[in-house]
Amino acid sequence: MKGGISAKAGGAGGAKRGGLEALRQNVLAFPILAWFGLFVGIPMVYVVVVSFLTRDDLGNIVWQFTLDNYRRIADPVYLRIFANSFLLAFLTGVVTLLVGYPVAYTTARLEPKRRNLAIGLIILPFWISSLLRTYGWVILLGNWGIINNVLTALGLIDQPLQLMYKFGTTLVGTAYMLIPFMIIAIYNSVDKLDKSLLEASYDLGAGRWQTFFKIVLPLTIPGIAGGFTLVFIPALGLYFISDLLGGGQTVFLGNLIHTLVNRGRNRPLAAAFSVGMIVMVILVVAICSRVTRSKREGFLL
């Protein structure tokens, strides 16, 4: 590791110094790692273990190894649920990206006073109750909700529009809930852009759209990937949105797991599905990570 200069007036040899020094430096990190290892790592491992077990009629876990749970996942009905959840999460990512990118881009280019106001308005929903935010859509979209009332009053429709209890409704609710994450991620990326790159592009003759697609977009990919991850993961887990807005028409993983645990009393199966969900997350994170590998900045922090 280090050169072989011998120590004269004290001091241990280079390599030994390095190892011990590092240990002393890092000693305080271990409690932290322990705490989180304990509360996140172990439960996860436990869930994986349980997914290979079975249960008795009362719903208690029986310590008997079985692959049954995973075999049942392969059932087309269940696979459809996986697909639904993936689709929902993925589309949420897409929708938040399409709607949120212009917001982030515009905000990044406002002058400081307005920019701070805009950022404040974007972050504000973080603090507001998520139930409230979802519930608002129930009021807006219901058959006797605000939108239908207004449209009827204006004479534009005769019958109320059936807006609730569809896949799209859940999508709207989930995207609405998570869009601030996407916007902030993209904003950070755009903010870090060297403005002189844009000027160089214009100087060389490119128009606004060309500059955007050739310069801005490629350079903000880390932000997009980060935002996508930040949106995809929660989208898989916010089952209360599909409960309230989707009315159980489409069954998602979150709802399924919840039902299995609470009513079905089938924890091993629920565990198996949880594992499946986590695997999905790992895959997506890995892909996003690979996408940003060639760029210099890390994509999460």
Binding site: S6, K8, A9, G10, G14, R17
Partner: protein, 382 residues
Amino acid sequence: MKSCKRKEVPVSKPLLSLVNLNKYFGDFHVLKDITLDIDRGEFLTLLGPSGCGKTTLLRCIAGLEAIDSGDILLNGESIKDLAPNKRNVNTVFQNYALFPHFTVYDNICYGPRVKRTLSEGELKQKVREVLELVQMAGYENRMPHQLSGGQRQRIAIARALINQPDILLLDEPLGALDLKLRKHMQTELLQLQKVTGTTFVYVTHDQDEALNMSDRIVVINQGEVQQLGTPREIYNNPRNLFVTEFIGDRNILQVEVLEPGEGTVKVMLGGQVVEARSAGSGLTAGDKAVLAVHKDKMRVACEPGPNSLVAKALSIHYAGSQIRLELAVGQDMETGWVKLTVILYQQSDCECEPGDSVWVSWDADGAVLLPLEPGWQGSVLV
């Protein structure tokens, strides 16, 4: 040559000794076997280009970096394993590092308070004294963000000095100031050092600053000590090519030794014979060597004189107080020639036009001859 600035220091043990100090950043050997003694009460400057390791060396003395081998002795005792807060050494940082949430008063009191060396009553008096010392009396209740750069600087110094350290380390403290303020602060710092008698170890890459202020200068390059001496010694007697090129403004030319000897040596330059002072490094006839002459220690005349070369005037530039004259020296002025720059201060010293043939000369005493080092790239006579 003795410097007039040299203080009468009684022969005693040095205050700080660096012994075979080595430091690595990973695989990079940043400080190579540094051995150095620093005397009590002196103003020592570490001078060198960016990246040479001078700041790292300073930080090792402060305890902010650990050394890999060697030792640091303060008053004869090893401090290399002591944490920075246990060493009686204080640092003035490049960006001042004033605590933004404390008033000037609390900033200055910080050291004594955390070490519990003074009572609150004593502190009041001491703070007033040290503020007067740096000419910032009355600023106790200001916040750092209300002060200008120069003012913050002084508070940083006051904050360090109140602890009465054995050594005060200054890391390019004047780097962020504009030229005029810098010159002013140089004088102030020097005065401060004399008044308090504290040993200053000063880091800079500005040679004028170093030559101006120091009792002794340590020239450092690539982690190694190149030369240690008074400003006069460093300026007139550079010991190797790096110091020759780094300090002062010289013409540096490759020559061939003709007649070696004590004192002056005859060398061949551009087909002509001139004399130069040898740095005493055992050169023999036929050796390739390097001749270095201060650009402003040369004379130009219209006739030959003792120890002169014939040259052709190329161009004349007027730059403020200087007149820069570019000359070409060579056997055959068409094909192989060496460019010389002569700096003159009066029009009367230079009565020629571009294209004229002139004679350029210098005192053999004012030119230094050094052995050629492998890998050196300077002016070469083809």
